[in-house]
Amino acid sequence: MKPVEIAKGIYSVGVRDWNIRDFHGYATDQGTTYNAFLIVDEKVALIDTVKNKKQFTQQLIDNIATIIDPKKIDIVISNHTEMDHSGGLPHVMHYIGEDKPLYCSKMGKKNLAKHFSREWNFHAVNNGEELSLGEKTLVFLETRMIHWPDSMFTFAKEDGVLFSSDGFGQHYAGYELFDDEVGDKIMYQAKNYFANILMLYAPRIKKLIKGVVDLGLEIKMICPDHGIIWRKDPAKIINAYNAWCDQTPKRKALVVYDTMWESTEKMAEAIVDGLIEENVITKLMHVRSCHRSDVITEMLDTRAVIMGSPTLNNQMFPSLMDTITYIKGLKPINKIAAAFGSYGWSGEAVKYINKEFEAMKFEIVDPGIRVQYVPTPDDLKNCFQLGAKMGKLVNES
């Protein structure tokens, strides 16, 4: 990625990862970027250091070299310890000088030490601490658990540029660099990112956004560590985050299932017909065809969740349990739920799905439907009725 001056003396120097499709188990069909930023003032500061892959860390150094001799970097700032942003640290520090100060949060100091076992010249900053680079002042804002204990934001005060680490990011590698270049299609990627990485911390994010607004920072540009930079309308992504944090459901229903001999699938389709009859926005997702990370994105603003599984060896089908395990950790809220499934002789799947619904605090509004072997026309009518019942409840709420 050719470096671009995004504000006077502030350069985007990160790298694109066009072809990554599996980001720690999150399907990234648009690739991603590992952003890093160079601030050239009387002192030179580098913010974040891209992913721990040789080609990327070298590219980072090469990018910086087109602007300034990398050895002239005085300060490195690590906003987040995760390897896709700190992985380049050993290479960078070795290149520019191991004794250069490394700014991070208190937890960042602990966590970086546990990642790299190096005695770097750590400067653990306090929340709100300022650092003058000459004409520019940086302010460090602690953002613990958004989304790691070490996470922090760095704000370039005079320029109004917020370096927001993983906050407001998107897994998107494109030719575009800014929101105004990419247009509205980026909002899906931003939502997808929020659902998969940040959703479980929604109450904390809400507080943080309020805190930042209350501080009265004049934010002109938001630079996340993944994807495009928000410069045309930073308020748009902040407002979107506020809405996603609330998880206010739309008139939507999601049917998630797996099937062995198409019986549970037939039930799923009948349920979908019932939902559509009630004019609910409905989506059917087969868990071995749709990635769990896309299921959670759909779930973010869905009211009704209906899950189906055949019973295999007295258990729920493992692929559905995979998706449920993933969803559970991300803590979706405001859901009504029901289960269904076909079985041969024992038929425990519905019971186990309901147990998971309870664990996730979903409101179970129907005990669910179990069908032995292949659904009869009457069974399918019952499934249609279940869909219609869920649809009505969606419309009432």
Partner: protein
Amino acid sequence: MDKYVCTLCGYVYDPEVGDPDEGIEPGTKFEDIPDDWYCPVCGAGKEDFEIQE
């Protein structure tokens, strides 16, 4: 003595164990921990803890 759980990361403060690394002796009630103490796992403040049910 009540155990307290960090609502951010799930760490449980057990008064019988304390947090000796931070100078909190075993047997210290959660209420008696200084206000500037923070979660040893994620760095959350005391205000982010709840009584474990």
